[in-house]
């Protein structure tokens, strides 16, 4: 049996089952992340695992023991949480906030022993916040607060830490710092981490396992590279307008609609900026000729109306040229993204020559094109109505 396991777990509120048949098995020291759209029930699952919510069926096991049979204190010694609720304690130092984690270990009056104090300091050190020990908690920034809350959880000396959207409100640097600490805890101390994240890019990079939560059951469970293929993310989040690229971890907004007005001659990453600039101005465009393993090709597929591609590592052939030329002559404008023309993509050189021959204006880079566009718009506005 796996270290942490749920069996046909059903969760929800007030007897109404929201998500059922949740089956998870993970080993000790692994990181499991729940992803899914807002309101899908990620928090509901986490809160049922931590026993903040009564489960509505099934069971949760840690080392084959049903955790719902444990006393609150037993659970507190093995499982710690970082919740979404923002705490506002008055006149408490960070040290005191962290020390509340010793609750399951101290005597009836909550007296801290030498060992307890050592653990508090060790926890603060783990999150690189030793210098905050004597500082009033209410004076901290969001990033510092979250680290202290993590230290509080670590201070409980748990085997499992459950975190509900720990990176919300944090800027990118603090997100990375926090996840780094979690990775370290999992790796070095064998602490199992179960959390929910909104940042899919980070989730795939930190997690050993992902759970996609959608609908009334979990859509997928497994290592990120197994379950997130193709447009899995777009489907999970119902992204219709725009796209998410898993390899790059990048988001593209919706592609401009209509017949291509601009033809971009690109390749080798020179076109990416140009494509995005065109998208921003809602100008439909075609792109070519791109090798099908090219960065530009990947982005163009999300943003352009038409992509003319050719097999990689082979000279671009006549067929590609004919397709591209046909698309090009229908456009009013051509942008040369600046991709060097060599033997393999000689076709692109011919395309530029064709544009000149047909008297289609060719801009060197998208900035020149954008300036011209501004000028024209400005010009039309100034023209008197006739």
């Amino acid at each position: 049996m796996a270290y942490f396991q749920t069996e046909k777990l059903a969760v929800g509120y007030r007897g109404n089952v929201l998500i059922h048949d949740i089956d998870i098995q993970i080993e000790k020291g692994k990181i499991l992340t729940l992803i899914g759209p807002n309101g899908a029930g990620k928090s509901t699952i986490l809160r049922s695992i931590t026993r903040h919510l009564a489960k509505l069926g099934g069971a949760v096991y840690i080392e084959s023991q049903d955790i719902h049979r444990w006393t609150p204190k037993q659970l507190a010694r093995r499982l710690a949480v970082v919740l979404t609720e923002r705490i506002r304690p008055e006149l408490m130092t960070c040290g005191e906030v962290v020390a509340t984690g010793r609750y399951p270990y101290t005597n009836a009056l909550g007296r801290l022993t030498e060992k307890d104090r050592a653990v508090v300091r060790e926890s603060l050190r783990r999150v690189h916040a030793l210098e905050l020990e004597d500082q009033d908690f209410s004076t901290l920034s969001d990033g510092q607060r979250q680290r202290i809350m993590l230290a509080r959880a670590i201070c409980q000396e748990p085997e499992i830490i459950v975190l509900d959207e720990p990176t919300a409100y944090l800027d990118i640097r603090h997100k990375i710092e926090l996840l780094d600490i979690l990775r370290e805890m999992a790796h070095e101390k064998g602490i199992t981490v179960i959390m929910s994240l909104h940042e899919i890019d980070l989730a795939t990079k930190i997690s050993d396992y992902l759970i996609c939560v959608k609908g009334d059951t979990i859509a997928a469970f497994g290592p990120p590279e197994d379950i997130l293929a193709g447009d899995a993310i777009d489907k999970l989040y119902d992204i219709e307008h725009g796209s998410y690229d898993l390899l790059f971890g990048s988001v593209e907004l919706g592609r401009p609609v209509g017949e291509p007005e601009v033809f971009v001659v690109a390749g080798a990453g020179f076109g990416a900026d140009c494509f995005r600039a065109l998208q921003k101005r809602q100008t439909p465009f075609a792109a070519g000729v791109l090798f099908d393993n090219d960065v530009d090709c990947r982005i163009a597929r999300e943003l352009s109306t038409r992509v003319i591609s050719a097999p990689a590592f082979e000279p671009m052939g006549e067929e590609a040229y004919r397709d591209a030329a046909a698309a090009l002559v229908k456009c009013r404008t051509v942008i040369d993204a600046g991709t060097p023309v060599g033997t393999l993509n000689a076709v692109n050189g011919r395309l530029l020559a064709l544009a000149k021959e047909k008297n289609i204006p060719v801009y060197g880079g998208w900035r020149a094109w954008a300036e011209k566009l501004e000028e024209q718009r400005h010009g039309t506005r100034c023209q008197p109505d006739v």
Partner: protein
């Protein structure tokens, strides 16, 4: 002790400093209270009388009636001191402390700094039942004993608390719950007014003087009862310091640490209503002590560690009430002010200041 942080050491030494200061103030207040009044008795004479009484066995004054008559029989001064001023000031000290601890517990429960026995309508509930007893029960029994008054006030307090707890099952927003408590308090006031419609002149006068709040008329019997109830409740509250500390991080975290939330909340509300019911029964509703004093205490200690705040709040409440009672008694002598008048005059500005400062801190 080496591994304690500077901050912990500082807050503990601050605590002892504050306790010494409060004890000094308390001692000063006690002496002032005993020797001032319509008959001024010099401090020296007070001490010698007390010394005489101690030698005569006054240490069991609280337990035996006959010792009291022995002591008070000696002279007029000693009669004034032992049968009027001493029980009164002791009652003021005991109940003042009780009010402020009750306020502290309610503020913990509601996670709101303006929660207090008076605001929440606990006092109004007590007043409702007390008025019922005063107006209607008096027709059937010859005299209303303190025990009956305590029971009436306690029943009234628990009634309100019960209603608030019922709502708390459905309403999870603590501010909302506080508003419900306040509204229930208004309903109780309406019911009280309804009872008064059927009251005799004498009852109305009695009830009015009761509801203004006063420590006058305190006797040793009251002191015994109040001391018993308050000290036990206060000790119980202190034993709850550990969960109270965890609860400061919110219910979710407290629960994850192993706090039995339902039991803990029931204990909080039971203790705070016991304390405030006791006060309301012996001295009538006294406003603002419950809100202002815990805040003053926290600012004094610069920490919110409950194990330190609870005893200090008790002391601070005792000092606050002793001085307020002194003012009530002597400021416009021979006329006596209601204790509620004085506590509001000093307590309300503190509350306003506190709200403004919190606002500033949050911005």
């Amino acid at each position: 002790m080496q591994s304690q942080t500077n901050e912990t050491r500082r807050s503990i030494s601050r605590f002892f400093l504050a306790v010494v200061l409060l004890l000094a103030l308390l001692a000063w207040g006690l002496v002032l209270n005993v020797n001032t009044g319509s008959v001024d008795i010099p401090a020296g004479q007070v001490f010698s009388l007390v010394w005489d009484a101690v030698r005569a066995g006054a240490h069991d004054l609280v337990t035996r009636e006959d010792t009291l008559s022995l002591v008070t029989g000696a002279s007029t001064e000693s009669k004034i001191i032992f049968s009027i001023r001493m029980p009164r000031m002791l009652l003021a000290a005991i109940l003042g402390g009780a009010l402020s601890v009750a306020g502290f517990l309610l503020q913990t429960f509601f996670r709101n700094p303006i929660a207090g026995p008076f605001v929440l309508g606990i006092s109004s509930g007590a007043k409702m039942v007390v008025s019922f007893v005063m107006i209607f029960a008096l027709r059937y029994v010859s005299r209303v004993t303190s025990a009956m008054m305590i029971l009436a006030a306690f029943a009234g307090s628990l009634l309100i608390v019960g209603v608030v707890l019922l709502f708390s099952q459905r309403v999870h927003n603590m501010s909302m719950l506080l508003v419900i408590g306040i509204m229930v308090g208004y309903i109780c006031s309406a019911v009280t007014d309804f009872f008064i419609t059927f009251a005799k002149e004498q009852d109305i006068a009695n009830l009015t003087s009761w509801s203004m709040g006063s420590f006058s008329g305190a006797n040793w019997d009251n002191v015994r009862w109040a001391a018993g109830i308050c000290l036990v409740s206060m000790a119980a509250a202190w034993l709850l310091s550990k969960p109270i500390g965890a609860y400061a991080l919110g219910e979710g975290y407290a629960q994850s640490l192993g706090v039995n939330i339902k039991l803990f909340r029931a204990m909080l509300i039971l203790l705070s209503s016991l304390l405030s019911a006791c006060v309301t029964a012996f001295a009538g509703p006294i406003s603002f002590v419950g809100i202002a004093v815990p805040h003053i205490t926290r600012s004094l200690l610069k920490t919110s560690r409950p194990a330190l705040v609870i005893p200090a709040a008790y002391l601070c409440g005792a000092v606050f009430c002793i001085f307020c009672d002194l003012i009530a008694r002597t400021a416009f002598a021979p006329a006596e002010l209601a204790i509620g008048t004085v506590t509001s005059a000093f307590g309300a500005p503190v509350v306003i200041y506190m709200m403004l400062r919190r606002r500033r801190e949050q911005q």
